[in-house]
Symmetry: C2
Subunit: 172 residues, 2 copies
DNA sequence: TCAGGTGATGTCAGTCGCTGACATCGTCGA
DNA sequence: TCGACGATGTCAGCGACTGACATCACCTGA
């Protein structure tokens, strides 16, 4: 991440990264499927936390409540690391390929959430719809959390879910 | 698309495509920024239609209603071409890189919708949230439209918006 | 009619991401 | 002590993508 920040993403070759890590280029690709993937390690952790929390929600929780519980569960993963997240995000914003990867990751996260909802007995299309709503809330809350100085991400998530319910109730 | 379907995406080199089109590889890259981009031409058209429809919604329409109008406006773009869309989608599903590009395109579409909402005076975070909800509905409706034989995409979109409002009203 | 500008295409060489195949080496258990 | 095994190194190669320059068709204005 340091090299990416200093010299830019495509000014930093895989050979550079490998050299800095004291490895071979070939070995790099045995640890990361992709050059971009360096910035997206830990995404799977997020997914596990979310899906586990959805599964752990009380059986009588509505689909929306279950997803809200899932999304809110990622809070601890971000506590304190705001500057790190900001650096990472600023790098991502410099390069379309990285934004693309991020979009793909979030999309994948949405699919996983939908699967967790289906496991709870939620039928399609509600499962996919509600899952994607959860992702939308997460994105908006995460963005605000990055931009602010002392907002709590957990609070933001709850707040944005409320906001969305309110908008929906004001109707079409 | 024919070559992709027959031989697979990465068994088809850019040189192959260029040769089939009677062009040079270099010229290919002057028309398409990417090898993948071949399959995503027309995405900008979708974006224009949606954002225009959001802008054209009555001033007193709620944010959700404006987005619903925007998403519903893409209906005509798909009328009749179900087999073409299916072929395209089946190719995309064979390759992660293509799925990634699709996710990125939808993400971009969401940003554009949010911008249109902001132009209507909708504040953040509601603009982004509602825009992403619109994308979620579009994705679910499009998937169902592809899978079904004679569903109308416009009807599906309206129906899924209703579904989502209902879910939201059942609450957290 | 011709000089010059402009835009699309061709040509060439090069970089870099990424992969497959094979060799090497350290570790650990039989 | 030997052999299996996993992680790493080495090497060669493909293919996506880019920059620089040449070419050519077409159009325009003197």
């Amino acid at each position: 991440m340091g090299m990416f920040a200093e010299r830019g993403f495509d000014q930093t070759t895989v050979a550079d990264i490998a050299a800095r890590a004291g490895l071979t280029e070939r070995t790099f690709f045995r640890h990361f499927s992709d050059k971009r993937e360096v910035l997206f390690h830990g995404g799977s952790h997020l997914e596990e936390v979310m899906t586990a929390a959805v599964a752990a929600a009380p059986p009588d929780a509505t689909p929306l409540a279950a997803v809200a519980a899932g999304v809110a569960a990622v809070g601890p993963a971000f506590e304190g690391g705001r500057t790190g997240s900001r650096l990472r995000q600023s790098i991502i914003e410099t390069h379309p390929d990285l934004q693309e990867r991020e979009a793909a990751k979030l999309c994948h996260l949405g699919l996983a959430l939908a699967e967790s909802l289906r496991a709870r007995g939620v039928a399609e299309p509600v499962a996919s719809l509600v899952a994607d709503v959860g992702i939308a809330v997460f994105r908006a809350a995460f963005a605000q959390w990055l931009a602010s100085e002392d907002d709590d991400i957990r609070t933001l998530i709850d707040q944005y879910f409320d906001e969305l319910v309110k908008v929906a109730q004001s109707g079409l």
